[in-house]
Symmetry: C3
Subunit: 411 residues, 3 copies
């Protein structure tokens, strides 16, 4: 019966993650100390971000009919694992002082947010790689993203919030570059196992709603200053509301039979939040956020309908969860609108305008290069036979990794 299954991960996963834990714990022992502050104010928003990461992203990935356990389970694994690594890296690069690293709740929060690119990439690869590969990917991706953040914030002097808002673009293009290595001509051709099921779609919608509801926290939590933070909350809220409405509208327009598509609704409603990520705190009037939300909902839905098919057939990149349309395109829109908005803010000072815009473009380019380049290298590394990658006929199948209550009762 063995040959029917994907190669076992027994010889790989347990040892890999145990060894990594054995490395992390001593690092914490020797390097990391708690900052003796008593400020617990950030705790409620910290919890919001955790709900987004573990529940929002986790359930968003449960839509594949026979891959629900893996969707939510592997998300938990790589997030719980990635956060530990991200906290260490963030400490080494930003807070290393006199042989030790001082951490506080905000640094754990930043660690959690730095794990998001890995969760987005995991969405693009959903069903096509095994957890060993996901753990390696998380390790590399969190490292590169933190380095990218260090370049942007320490070398180019961009503030911390903005440097973290590149999560969406970084995660998407890193994931797509890896996905290129795991392409198979049968993918996306209406493979029976890749499809969703009404109930798995509902659970995925649950995840999406949690992301949607707490997105204002994600876009505001690192913004310095209460009044800017409040702006970020407002503007994200309005952008999300408008992008939800737009997603419904364009979903029907682009469908031949005039019907809604759950994939569009579930994902494109988030586009507004992604797109105002960079700029929500500096928008002074809700109509700008609403316009960005409108455009984001539109390009996300159109991206699902037209660009995703094109990626699949022409460039041979199969994006299971549609992260390109959900996070990539709206992220790019957000980057462009951010550059426009800071430029307009310096309209009277033409030198400063040019400089600001230039820096913005440079950040965007660095992120794209780091993510695509890192993704290609990582993808190549993940094709190594050592990781027992699943064959394409075992793609999208929980049974390759999970003991089922009873084989006859599979979903």
């Amino acid at each position: 019966m063995a040959p029917r299954y994907a190669p076992s991960i027994r010889g790989r996963l347990p040892w890999l993650i145990l060894i990594l834990e054995m490395i992390f714990i001593p690092i914490f022992l020797f390097l990391i100390v708690f900052e003796p502050t008593e400020n617990n104010k950030v705790y409620p928003v910290f919890q919001d971000v955790n709900v987004m990461i573990f529940l929002g992203f986790g359930f968003l990935l449960t839509f594949v009919r026979r891959f629900g356990f893996s969707g939510v389970g592997f998300n938990l694994l790589i997030a719980a694992f990635g956060i530990q690594w991200a906290v260490i890296l963030d400490g080494v690069l930003f807070h290393f002082k006199e042989g030790s690293i001082m951490i506080n709740i905000p640094s754990v929060l930043i660690g959690a947010m730095s794990t998001v690119p890995a969760l987005i990439s995991a969405g693009a690869l959903l069903g096509k790689v095994n957890p060993v590969q996901l753990v390696w990917m998380t390790l590399v991706e969190v490292t590169l993203f933190t380095v990218n953040r260090w370049i942007i914030s320490d070398l180019l002097m961009i503030e911390k919030h903005t440097s973290l808002m590149f999560v969406h673009i970084f995660g998407t293009y890193f994931g797509l570059a890896i996905a290129w290595f795991f392409y198979h001509p049968l993918l996306g051709k209406n493979m029976e196992k890749e499809r969703s099921q009404p109930m798995s779609d509902m659970l995925s919608m649950l995840g999406s709603l949690f992301l949607w509801m707490f997105w204002p926290t994600f876009n505001s939590v690192l913004v310095p200053g209460a009044s800017k933070r409040r702006n970020a909350v407002y503007n994200t809220y309005y952008a999300l509301a408008v992008s939800a409405v737009t997603a419904f509208s364009f979903s029907i327009c682009t469908n031949a039979r005039g019907k809604l598509n759950m994939v569009h609704v579930r994902n494109a409603v988030l586009a507004g939040g992604v797109a105002v990520g960079f700029s929500a705190y500096l928008i002074y009037s809700a109509w700008i956020a609403m316009t960005i939300g409108f455009l984001a909902g539109m390009i996300s839905t159109l991206g699902f309908t037209y660009i995703q098919t094109c990626l699949n057939s022409a460039i041979q990149i199969h994006d299971t969860c549609g992260v390109h349309a959900t996070f990539g395109l709206p992220g790019l829109l957000g980057g462009v609108s951010y550059i426009l908005l800071i430029s307009i803010g310096d309209w009277d000072n033409i030198t400063r305008l040019g400089y600001q815009a230039l820096i913005g473009v440079v950040c965007l380019c660095i992120t794209l290069v780091m993510s695509l380049g890192g993704g290609l290298l990582t993808g190549f590394f993940l094709t190594c036979k050592l990781w027992n990658a699943p064959k394409h006929w075992k793609y999208f199948d929980d049974q390759a990794y999970w003991e089922f209550p009873h084989l006859a009762n599979k979903l």
Copy 2:
């Protein structure tokens, strides 16, 4: 194949909501400015209310076995849309000053709470109207509810919190009045498609639990004064706990075979929260809240068993989600108990007592007239052929509106 489906909404919905967004965005551009405050304290409770609206109400409406996508999806659409309109209206009626409207997080919160009547009405109409009709309904209902609130709080000088607690009564009777127009003799007669399924019942229970858990926030968030707010939290909590216990008890008592009914449990547990909405802040001892919760759980369960059937057969109003027993009857109980409680508070001053009681009765009557009258007019408007209303044999069917992953794999 076309005739099997409900008339397409392609020619209606996208344009309707796009045009409305095109109207909203300029209104925000020209009229609305952010208040330059730095108070973000209300943010956590604001999020609680959002969870209730998008997740609580959304999943509460997923119990119809083949109407889950529409339950949660249309709820998201009309809430995201209604909030934008409610903020504009609230601004125009309450905060218009020198050609502009100043908004802050509390005004978005009030906007969100003003959308609740539309969500309740959508529960009564669940499965029988299309999203075009729901959007029109939301537009009218939010307008009338805000006008109703303006009459109560600006003309009759009732405080803001109380004026908003009429959401339950308003939403119920507005929805029932519309439901009268969409009655069909086959409804409620154990139509196969109208029934739930264990898994859809579980998701609905999930929504109900979120409403239940955050109801203390809903009843306290607008109450002025920390000590009154604390009372509102306590009393709502106790009323909910007792109404949950009572719902279990009466659900078994009213069943011929001595079994529990998920419909009772899911809905009647909320009755306590609805019933103490008006008065939670002024109750000085938990036993009063517990007694109101007890009565609310009782009348809600009895309402499901006896009144709902009677509404359906005698008055020809079919209430899909049972909003009358969940929100209507407990809301009326709440109104009556509120009038009693404020009267008792002024027991020594007989003139004032009479006046207070009179004002309370007047508010209740205005709300009933506005909601029933508005509902009848709106219902008539929604029967217009232009909106392509679904025929009764396409009621309760997601496939009329949603592209399914694969027809053969429908739920």
Copy 3:
């Protein structure tokens, strides 16, 4: 048709809970007054704990394929009921002064947390007892746990937080002692009805994730002092993250085919939170919490694989939800590590060290004796024919208690 069903609970449950409510309401009327404080700061964490109790535990118990309604429904019933009783008891034992009891939000919070043992015990008994028995169990268990807490905190002078962290150990051994009375040789032998189903497993995972995400609140909410509270949050977070990773690793190691087991993942990820419950606030460096989390994830997974089967066959205790491995063993680990940690803190003072360690051991012994002894007595009481206990062939069946939408459409 009647004989096919479990004996009806119609003649028992409604009257039992109505009579108890009739007793509670007058107690609240005559004894309980609100403390006139205006401090609402605790409200957000109070909500976190409510989410854990009603949603987290409720959905955790929905994994049995035909017992989902009962899992989440009876959890709601006994929690809503238990909290009222716990508040009264806590008031009588700790806050009774001059004929009345002053309560505030923290006392309701403690009431809610005191109900957790009953929810854990209900997990061990899931599917084998009816709600009448659960209500009696809750009544006795909440009483004994509060007395246990009173002995520990008032007689042995241990602080409130620590005395409450015995919830896990108390709930587990109380539940196991009762489970001994409801053993049947067919249980656990792969009974078809006892098994889960992919979708019910997903809902259970949802509950587990909510417990996981809010566990830092549970372990920190009663800790006095902001800096200790912050430590408790940090350490619980890290312990949970490591125990999640460890659970994945050992779940594969212990499986013959090298696959993950959803039961391990769902439950053992929580072990870290349970195990640092006692000591999270006094751990000064994350690596200790991570090590405890590592051990907890390990013993919990091993407990599921080896000890649970042994309990079932050798001692004839059938533990439906595996609470022994989820809460019991990690709880004991937590107790032992707590005694070690406070001993190390007093290393230079050998007398004090011995005393502290002794007190710790005494508390642990008292809790074990109270829970096992109380459980045996309660179990004996629950076998009384008066409660119409279900026969073993009606175990794990929602249809014994719930009216189903349509018999033909059961899950």
